[in-house]
């Protein structure tokens, strides 16, 4: 055995031994998590998603320049690693050269490696330029990044020098296939070193390269570059559907003593994998309405803070001393952080490695609310109202159907022979502005000849506000009551003008035995228009901008239907705000924030209204009762109510449709 082989075997076993040990600890911590998450369904789909996003870098490339930079480094890393492995193998056993794959294949391989060495070097330069000169806010400062960029750059330089000197020293046939290294060689040739010296220098740089690689492997487990290993599996195990419901809790199971997450160990292994996967890219933070209005929450820091909480508790977790694990709420993750979230899901949609931030926030809220009764004081009457009157506001359940007075709308009790059930929701039932929306939508349904009915006083709040605030117990009580009534009438189809009701009835009631075909009114109206049952004929010579509701857009992927509904209005001028579709800015009401005071930072509804006003629209079209309230308030705050109207899409279509 050569001295090189001996030294390499010694150093590499130290390095790989150490990093292997670190990885085993990380894996062990994952397996010690108490929460549940089992995702082994739909394997083919998972494989395809993983290939597209890992090998294809699909989500990463959502951002053009930074995405290309990352993809180049990643692809380069793949091909160059083949060379690195070859280096390792031949250092130990020189004859095991990869030339055995055949001269053509081998030529192509080394050519690609050579090209990528330069490409990666350029990408690293761009990364430095972006990080240190452009300095996008989301990136923040990172020692990790500086170390990794230096190491990656040095790796590429060492490869080029190793190859350059080798060409000057011996130049085997396949090195002809390395255009970049040849340039380097001709540059290095100026010094006129002897071939022997050149070969020694080449060996020197080979060692520099190998040692950096080994150093990397030691460094990865404790850095943000853990994502190199974690992001792939995290993609594989991600929630596949856009329409994800919150995971239900089984309150019947008496062995469960802890609801929600009070400690990091109460979360699931998938949550831990999420934490391992974060690349600190800041894409989540860039779009977060809370962060952008100076609230203490940033989804990126939330993930990093939870990760450091996990690491701080590593010894206790590994020793199985769960009782001693510190609270998940600490000086970084404060109550205010947890209550600032609007559950708009912009963070999750933006995250290139599919981290699910909202799951963790909800889990922590569940513990605060159900275990500790700890939540903003103004929420208590909301829970009480929901318990006593089945609505978050202080209204009598006996008055639920008052909005429909004089419209001769039948209830299911009066006439269960219907095409579709109109689910009114609490805002449509009690809020004066939104009652008008419901009246307009009911009028549209009549014009289209749709046979519909309402549940009347048998309808209750869907429970959604309670669920998002963390009161799963109250949510399930209401959801089960509603499902019982819906199933009693054998309801098959439901239409609602509220995206929150829509989301929970469609995606979450099925966990409790409620299976229905559920439509948001934007989908329903779009369908009626396509079928020719509604023909808006009156011209609307207005500039209209559409505000995306989070629970319609990001949670249910419905962006086009409300826009196509609006486009059916003759002469309408539809414009987009600065942020729209999946990049849209939340109105501030989601995640139960509708019922909480907003005392920190700028008001989110004002930020969104500013975008709406900047679009110069005279009408802001909404498709959600809470957005309606928030944007209407925002317009009033800006004293623009005489110039700009906020209207629901149903009202606009109803006005333009003759009876």
């Amino acid at each position: 055995m050569t001295w090189q082989a001996i030294v390499f075997l010694f150093v590499s076993s130290l390095a790989f031994g150490y990093s292997g040990y670190r990885f085993s600890l990380l894996l062990k911590m994952m397996s010690r998590q108490q929460g549940k998450a089992l995702r082994l369904d739909r394997i083919p789909e998972r494989i395809i998603t993983t290939i597209a996003n890992v090998l294809g870098q699909r989500a990463v490339l959502e951002k053009k320049a930074a995405g290309m930079m990352h993809a180049t480094i990643f692809w380069g890393f793949l091909v160059i690693t083949i060379g690195t492995v070859e280096q390792f193998v031949t250092t130990v056993y020189p004859p095991a050269h990869f030339e055995f794959i055949g001269p053509i294949a081998y030529s192509v391989l080394v050519w690609i490696q050579d090209i990528f060495t330069l490409a990666v070097l350029l990408a690293v330069s761009y990364a430095c330029y972006r990080r240190y000169i452009l300095r996008p806010e989301g990136l923040g400062k990172s020692k990790d990044a500086a170390i990794v960029l230096t190491l990656t750059g040095s790796l590429m330089v060492s490869i080029l020098l190793m190859n350059g000197f080798r060409i000057l020293g011996e130049s085997p046939w396949w090195m002809e296939m390395m255009p970049i290294s040849h340039r380097i060689a001709s540059f290095l040739g100026r010094w006129g070193f002897s071939p022997e010296l050149c070969l020694n220098l080449s060996t020197f740089f080979k060692w520099v390269h190998m040692l950096i690689v080994l150093g990397f492997s030691v460094y990865i487990p404790s850095s943000k570059h853990l994502h190199i290993l974690a992001a792939g599996p995290n993609t594989f195990f991600k929630t596949l559907d856009r329409e994800k419901g919150m995971k239900p809790i089984n309150f019947e199971n008496e062995s469960v003593q802890q609801y929600g997450a009070s400690k990091i160990t109460d979360m699931s292994w998938k949550d831990t994998l999420d934490l391992y996967s974060c690349t600190e890219c800041g894409r989540c933070q860039d779009l977060c309405p809370a962060y952008n209005t100076q609230k203490p929450l940033t989804p990126k820091m939330l993930i990093l803070d939870l990760k450091s909480n996990l690491y701080r508790n590593q010894d206790k977790i590994l020793a199985g001393k769960y009782d001693e694990v510190s609270s998940v709420i600490d000086t970084q993750v404060t109550d205010d952080v947890i209550w600032s979230c609007t559950s708009c899901r912009a963070c999750e949609i933006a995250c290139p490695v599919f981290i699910e931030h909202t799951d963790k926030i909800y889990d922590i809220r569940r513990n605060l609310v159900m275990m500790e009764s700890r939540f903003p004081a103004e929420v208590q009457p909301v829970f009480k109202n929901m318990e006593n009157n089945a609505t978050p506001w202080a209204f009598s359940s006996a008055d639920r159907a008052n909005w429909a007075e004089g419209l001769s709308i039948q209830t299911m009790a009066q006439n269960p022979e219907i095409d579709v059930l109109l689910w009114v929701g609490c805002a449509g039932s009690y809020d004066d502005r939104n009652k008008k929306v419901l009246r307009a939508f009911a009028s549209l349904l009549k014009k289209a000849g749709v046979k519909f009915a309402i549940l009347g006083t048998e309808e209750k709040c869907t429970g959604d506000p309670a669920r998002r605030i963390g009161n799963e117990y109250l949510y399930q009580t209401l959801a089960k009551d509603n499902i019982e009534v819906l199933n009693k009438y054998q309801v098959k189809k439901i239409v609602t003008a509220c995206p929150h009701c829509f989301n929970t009835i469609k995606n979450e009631y099925k966990d409790f035995g409620g299976n229905y075909e559920v439509f948001h009114h934007s989908e329903f109206i779009a369908k009626l228009i396509t079928e020719g049952k509604i023909k808006p004929t009156k011209t609307v010579e207005e500039t209209v901008t559409f505000h995306d509701s989070c629970y319609l857009g990001r949670w249910n992927n419905i962006y086009d239907q409300p826009r196509s509904v609006l486009k059916s209005l003759p002469a309408i001028n539809l414009v987009e705000m600065k942020s729209h579709h999946d990049q849209s800015l939340c109105c501030g009401a989601g995640g139960g924030r509708m019922w909480m005071e907003e005392t920190l930072g700028k008001r989110i509804n004002v930020a969104r209204t500013e975008q709406a006003l900047a679009s110069n629209a005279s009408i802001v079209a909404s498709s959600c009762p809470f957005c309606m309230t928030m944007i209407t308030d925002g317009v009033k705050t800006q004293e623009m109510q005489d110039k700009v109207k906020v209207m629901d899409i149903a009202e606009l279509i109803d006005q333009a449709t003759p009876s």
Partner: protein, 257 residues
């Protein structure tokens, strides 16, 4: 310390009250019952006192038809230890209610403190707390919005006419009737809600405590709903004419001047 709280179950504040067909009482069908909000302050005060004095117990009492057990359970879910239900008819008056509560309390071996709300929000009579104290020969401080606990004494603050604050000191045992502002009642945590289902609620009949229905002093004959709110009237014209018209209406129509 043995702490007792008397609570009443009342219709939810948003209930649309209807009368039963013969107008002898309200129609209770479909009513959502809650713990009277002032009684929630009383329960909360008892719980906080218990938390400060480990080893104390909080017992919740309510007199009424069997539906009021649900109100006792609600109080147990916030952390009270046990309940006592005294069965009295739906039509009981304040005297019978107070006798029943006092009768049950007399059977307890040691009573250190009794809390109640300053009034129930259904009939708003503010009678029962004083009557209970009277029947038990205990001092009573009502409409209390702050309490300081000493050794076997309490110092209570209550707001009186003109925004002044009256401070009263009493020895224990004492009955204290809570006013809004005394504390912020908690929201029951789920483990406590689940535990409450298993806590003991003792049931007593009037006979068990030496009280009889004959102790009722008031019989209700007839209930009437307040007349429906009329639409507002707008008086127009110049100020003098408006003033004249207003006086005329107050005199001739509303008959108040």
């Amino acid at each position: 310390m043995n702490i007792y709280v008397c609570i009443k179950q009342v219709p939810d504040t948003e209930t649309k009250i209807k009368l039963n067909p013969n107008q002898s009482g309200i129609d209770t069908t479909g009513i959502k019952w809650i713990v009277s909000p002032y009684d929630e302050f009383a329960v909360e005060e008892a719980l906080r006192l218990k938390e400060k004095n480990p080893g104390s117990t909080v017992t919740v009492l309510s007199a009424g038809p069997s539906r009021v057990i649900e109100a006792i359970r609600t109080a147990l879910a916030t952390g009270a230890d046990q309940g006592i239900h005294i069965e009295i008819p739906e039509t009981a008056d304040n005297h019978l209610t107070a006798k029943a509560l006092a009768g049950a309390l007399k059977k307890e071996t040691q009573v250190d403190l009794i809390f109640t709300g300053k009034e129930a929000i259904d009939d708003g009579a503010s009678q029962v707390s004083q009557l209970v104290a009277e029947y038990l020969h205990l001092p009573c401080v009502s409409v209390v919005n702050s309490i300081q606990y000493g050794n076997q004494t309490v110092q209570c603050k209550r707001e009186i006419e003109g925004g002044s604050i009256e401070i009263l000191e009493s020895s224990m045992p004492v009955l204290i009737a809570a006013q809004k502002g005394l504390n912020e009642p908690r929201y029951a945590s789920l483990p406590n809600i689940l535990k409450a289902k298993k806590k003991e609620v003792k049931s007593l009949k009037l006979g068990d405590i030496g009280v009889s229905e004959a102790d009722q002093k008031i019989r209700y004959k007839n209930f009437q709903l307040p007349p429906p709110k009329q639409a507002g009237k707008k008086i127009s014209g110049d100020p003098t004419a408006q003033a004249k018209e207003l006086v005329r209406i107050l005199h001739a129509e509303a008959k108040v001047v």
